[in-house]
Symmetry: C2
Subunit: 509 residues, 2 copies
């Protein structure tokens, strides 16, 4: 028997974490899809127990010795990158005391349970009382980790989603968008003012919507042997491995298009999981390169496949077949409907042009909240002020479709929101490069032949998993690091009818 | 801060096992209900990891010290019984080497995966090749535990399901049944020879069957906030706690009655879980008293509620409403159909009178197999011989509906089958006592008023969980230990039309 190298031991330690983490993922999926409501307390206790156990394994001091010994071992590029990512996570989890991990579980469990009823009854104070302990725990976590890294509290939380990014970088990137977007929104609204658009009228039976969504997700390339679709109040994707990818969606009998749009979005997330390298499934390197890269895949599917007129061409006959013909199912009408710009209160229902405002609003609030500049009680006033300033909408008194609309904060997911806008930039940048390499995507999409596009994404992005930092990965497949100019060009072309002023540089993939 | 007593520490140790065991149960439920097929390998690795972890916690030497120290502590009856059960399990799990626990997971995972395809293609050799390692592992486990307990290998496995029972006891009990049952079967067949019975004709859409089953399970007393119903190839119940009880069922468009019968059976299992004391949910004492007591509740529901003519009276109009009227839905026809005796190949489809033969057959084979008297290759010949002798059926060459029909062996569940027949005896004994205390159950059942019956079972059995040994529990609520005479009287009354020759003694509950 040959002794295991330090790298092999380290990888096995992480594989163990991953195999036990499987249960946490599965159980969270169950919580949001199938669990009987009264089962929440049992589940919360089980999650807390498992979180403590995983934290103990992740902070075992023996890891440091193994990490040190890998320095002298001959590793290939993937292995070396895997060690770096293990080391990076180790440095973060080491800073969290076990007691804080337990408090996190309890605070998040309580806030999560309070969130849905509070949202239903528009009861901000009831929710705020449970959010305050979550914020307190997250501030402590951010303080522990920020001090070790020498960064601000909010910057410390950003490391959970975007390796190496900072508040300063986000401000710089978002400021560019804020520079050109408001005028673009006004122009688009003016252009669309006299457009006639029909909204499909229901009822659309939920079972039929779900069946159609399943057909679409398989058409987009998800493998029926490895993927499934369930119902949950908020759509999401979870995956135990590339061979077990679970999408969820929500349905409203009265409206068809929101479910289809969500489905296409989640299919992007699911395809990234399915396309990641199976042999790295139990290692950090097998995960998405970043939350922005992950949202980038979802938004590529949603905006650069699903929102194209060519997709409506493919979709229109299927809608007629499933629900009977109606004038709104005309392909050109569906195409106009997909691009309809309408400032509104809800992030998930927002159009492509007003969506960035929703992200910037949340970024500003959660940054100030975590850095201790405001308190939970200040959120509604900040919300109202930003919504008025950014989108001209009066949201006073409506908490339900205000700060109660998202699950991220009750879930403890502070620092995630910026990834949506980074993802929109990523998607636009990838789409430009895909068209550079493949020619127009429209012909394929109109035929329902998505394989060339998913093949390109699979080669360029999915199969690379976390091997490169997000900016390095983008550099390799698009020729530049993240650049909001791609988003501007895409939006200008789509909503103002302007041809892109420049084409992306050709690069060797 | 007061120091925790040894009992409190011991209870907390077991609570931890229980909270982590929650994930194993949930994940097995997922495997049989929702998991994408390709996800099996990931799940098997996760299960193996968790099983090793749980085994490590269960065999921690520190437990012995805690157990010893509880002897000097003042404990109430429940706590003392809980310590005894922890001690009993500790003595069993201590004997299993960690390597054997891993081998068990691998063997069972492989055999489970091979079972369904082998069954579909009637391929005994393919299945047998994967069953042999399972038998080898179980024999080793039984040897380790049997040596420590000073009992035979099969008797050691019986301890997993029936505390304190032995092969000798099972033989004695089963011999009594074999003494009177064959003649009873012949009489019943003769009585039913000229009976006209209509079988409902489908198709019965699966969604409608599932909706009806859900209504029935809630009518029987399961709480919609705590219980749910899913689809699986073989019906079962799993529960994370009394507040999270999950039933499954299977549906066949062509046949309605099998799904209804399964549903009522599983509702009995589920009600036992739901009615167990919530404050003991994380302790061994909170579990069913034995597998026989558990099957006893399921068979009480199936046979002493669901198979009564009064249940058909309640059910008949609901069938007409759900599927449209047809002559077979006449209540008297449904009542005759429920009691129809027909020797057949399938255990789960067997009538009440021929069912014991299916159990005795499996008991004889698995006993000889575990004790090393036969090998896996001998199973088909033994199967054919027993089926011919016990039920007069030729099963040669049909492995699919022969030894491939059950999931117990691929699951490693050797020693479980006897509990079905013990359960049938238990159910008959409990039903006699319920009628003694409540008067005839028929009036309640015909009205769909199941609460008096489930209330009686809840008080007498469910709320007691594992507090007493099964025989002591039966003694307390029926006045005698397990006695097959109750089963004989019940069957004679139902199938031969004879009044019971004696009534059970009255006891104080």
């Amino acid at each position: 028997l040959k002794a295991l190298s330090a790298y092999q031991q380290l990888a096995e330690r992480h594989a163990r974490l991953s195999r036990l983490g499987y249960f946490h993922q599965l159980s969270e999926w169950d919580q949001r899809t199938h669990m009987p409501p009264a089962g929440a307390a049992t589940k919360a206790r089980a999650h807390s127990e498992l979180a403590s156990l995983l934290h103990g394994l992740a902070t075992d001091p023996g890891l440091d010795d193994l990490l040190a010994r890998t320095r002298d071992e001959a590793l290939d590029d993937w292995q070396r990158a895997n060690v770096q990512e293990i080391q990076r996570r180790r440095a973060l989890s080491r800073e969290l005391p076990a007691a804080l991990v337990s408090r996190h579980q309890i605070a998040v469990g309580t806030c999560n349970a309070a969130w849905m009823p509070a949202r239903r009854s528009n009861d901000w104070p009831a929710f705020a009382a449970t959010l305050a302990p979550v914020v307190a725990v997250l501030r402590e976590e951010a303080l522990c980790q920020g001090e070790a890294l020498g960064v601000s509290r909010y910057d410390a939380l950003l490391q959970r989603w975007e390796r190496g990014t900072t508040t300063a970088r986000l401000r710089r990137l978002f400021a560019q968008v804020s520079g050109w977007l408001p005028e673009m929104v006004q122009h688009a609204l003016a252009r669309q003012r006299d457009e006639v658009v029909l909204v499909p009228t229901g009822p659309f039976p939920v079972a039929e919507q779900a069946a159609l969504c399943q057909r679409i997700m398989f058409a987009l390339g998800l493998d029926p042997a490895s993927a499934r679709l369930d119902v949950s109040p908020h759509p999401f994707v979870t995956s135990g491995s590339p061979q077990d990818v679970r999408l969820t969606n929500r349905y409203d009998e009265a409206a068809l298009m929101p479910a289809l749009r969500s489905l296409v979005h989640e299919a992007g997330h699911g395809s990234y999981r399915q396309g990641s390298p199976a042999e790295w499934a139990e290692q950090p390197l097998g995960e998405p390169a970043s939350a922005a890269m992950d949202e980038g895949q979802a938004l590529f599917f949603e905006r650069h496949i699903g929102m194209r007129p060519a997709f409506s061409t493919w979709l229109a006959p299927q809608l007629g077949q499933a629900f009977g013909d109606q004038p709104a199912f005309d392909a050109e009408n569906l195409a106009r409907l997909a691009l309809r710009v309408r400032p509104g209160k809800l992030r998930t229902a927002a159009d492509e042009l007003t969506y960035p405002a929703h992200v910037i609003l949340r970024f500003e609030i959660e940054r100030a909240l975590i850095d201790g500049e405001i308190e939970v009680a200040d959120i509604p006033a900040w919300w109202d002020e930003h919504m008025r300033r950014l989108l001209g909408i009066d949201t006073r008194g409506d908490f339900r479709d205000g700060p109660l609309q998202d699950m991220h904060w009750p879930d403890g997911g502070f620092g995630y929101f910026p990834s949506y806008l980074l993802g929109a930039m990523t998607a636009a940048q990838l789409a430009a490069s895909a068209e550079r390499d493949l020619g127009s995507l429209d012909g394929h999409i109109a035929q329902g032949d998505f394989a060339p596009i998913t093949g390109w994404l699979g080669n360029q992005v999915w199969s690379q998993a976390s091997r490169f930092e997000p900016d390095e990965l983008l550099q390799r497949c698009t020729g530049s690091t993240l650049d909001p100019e791609f988003l501007r060009r895409h939006l200008a072309q789509r909503y103002l009818g302007r041809a892109p002023s420049t084409t992306p540089k050709a690069v060797n993939p």
